[in-house]
């Protein structure tokens, strides 16, 4: 907001009348963008009603503030949580139950109604609804298979990620202190699963790979009764991704995971020097091998050293071009469909910050 105002002032002082005209156009465009974006406009409504509530103390203003503040914060935050081609969790819409004499509150089967705290405890309200939203709209069709400690660990990390994306330290701190840490400390099993999911998440494979595969898995087992084998398949997937996420430099780890209902392969482009030295041929050979394994999805994960871009832009450019060529050749040579490509940043095993990219390819059956 401050940088936006600075831009306007700079335009006016530098260009006089033309600066005013341009500023006017910029403001109109900005306002249009806010109006057309329901989450951004909700954020402005929340600010307005908060001020009204602080001055008047009226309940209607308090309700409007709570409702708009929760919706805007959660819905804007979820846009930074890519789950394959979509976002996770679903968008939220807060609706007040109208009380009052003569009115009968209707509660449908399985519907959840939550009592919210006063506006002064808004952090608590946001955490409550983030929890409810994650639990209501994620792991759909899979919860009945999961054992409780794993289910809790997945939810904890989804809620933590959502609250982190809100960007308000107070809200995240409240959650970590009052829910996240006490829940982890309450059980050895939760601590174990959570530790693995955190590692997977730090490498960017939690929402971009693990949850994507779980979503596919839920479709494959839809209507089937849960079995121990099903849970073991999912637990095995966590172990598989954990090994990849904690892989040390030069260490070999399994890159295929094949069970009755999960068949995935991973190609790691983790050593920048290797692909620059050997070219894309070894990676194409690995891809060809994987296409013969009847896998349901093949992931190409690229972790490149970020300092390359600043200290040696030439080599970095070469690296980017080589990896782009790998993608083009994969689509050209193999009968696969590219499901998605997501760019992100993560930290490697030695604590170095890396730019990363994950692409998912789905083999097309003959």
């Amino acid at each position: 907001m401050i940088s936006f105002l600075e831009l306007i002032i700079e335009l006016v002082t530098k260009y006089g009348v033309w600066g005013i005209i341009v500023s006017f156009v910029v403001i109109i465009i900005y306002l249009l963008r806010v109006i057309l974006d329901e989450d951004k406009s909700a954020a402005w409504r929340a600010r307005f009603y908060k001020a009204v509530y602080k001055i008047s103390g009226k309940s209607e203003a308090e309700k409007k503030y709570i409702e708009n503040d929760i919706s805007s914060r959660i819905n804007l935050a979820r846009r930074n949580m890519p789950f394959g081609k979509e976002y996770l969790p679903k968008a939220i819409k807060v609706q007040w139950v109208e009380g009052g004499e003569g009115k009968t509150a209707q509660i449908k089967e399985n519907e959840l109604l939550i009592r919210l705290d006063p506006a002064e405890s808004q952090e608590r309200n946001i955490v409550l609804l983030a929890n409810a939203l994650v639990k209501q709209t994620s792991l759909v069709g899979i919860r009945y298979i999961l054992e409780k400690p794993m289910e809790i660990s997945i939810d904890l990390n989804l809620v933590k990620n959502l609250l982190r994306e809100i960007g308000n330290k107070k809200i995240l701190d409240w959650y970590l202190r009052n829910e996240y840490i006490p829940t982890i400390d309450s059980s050895y099993e939760i601590k174990e699963w959570n530790g693995k999911i955190v590692e997977i998440d730090e490498k960017g494979l939690f929402t971009r790979l693990f949850l994507v595969e779980l979503d596919d898995y839920s479709k494959r087992v839809a209507g089937k009764t849960e079995t121990k084998e099903m849970f073991d398949e999912i637990a095995g997937l966590v172990e598989f991704l954990y090994k990849i996420s904690t892989k040390a430099y030069g260490q070999d780890v399994p890159l295929d995971y094949m069970t009755k209902n999960i068949k995935i392969g991973v190609i790691l482009v983790g050593e920048t020097s290797k692909i620059l030295l050997t070219g894309i041929e070894p990676y194409l050979k690995a891809f060809a091998y994987k296409t013969q394994q009847q896998l349901t999805s093949i992931y190409v994960i690229q972790w490149d050293k970020e300092f390359l871009g600043t200290t040696d832009p030439k080599i970095y450019k070469q690296f980017v071009e080589t990896t782009q060529k790998l993608d083009e050749k994969i689509l050209e040579k193999f009968r696969v469909q590219k499901d998605f490509e997501l760019k992100y940043t993560c930290t490697d095993a030695s604590g170095k910050k890396r730019k990363a990219k994950i692409s998912r390819y789905i083999p097309v059956s003959q």
């Binding site: 007040w96 089967e109 929890n131």
Partner: protein, 88 residues
């Protein structure tokens, strides 16, 4: 394009009494007959946190963090289903 949203209905903290009256359960609430379906504690105006309906029965939850987490999880087919409820 209209996006798909999850509607979550919420109760205003000043409307709790009216809400129980509209359910016809205010007397049960004041006489301590409504219990948290997770921990068994008596539900009051102050500690009431959530309500749902399962197999026709209303289930209530108190405001303890552990209870609300368990309560919400059980709604979407989690393994530990909560059982006790109030007929309404």
């Amino acid at each position: 394009m209209k996006r798909e949203s999850e509607i979550i209905r919420v109760i205003y903290h000043k409307d709790v009494t009216e809400f129980f009256k509209s359910l016809g359960l205010f007397d049960k609430l004041t006489s301590g007959e409504i219990l948290c379906s997770v921990c068994g504690e008596k539900i009051t105006i102050e500690n009431f946190r959530a309500v749902t309906r399962k197999s026709g029965k209303l289930l209530f939850c108190c405001n303890k963090d552990a209870c609300i987490q368990e309560f919400i999880s059980s709604l979407k087919g989690g393994k530990n289903d909560i059982v006790s409820g109030t007929d309404h």
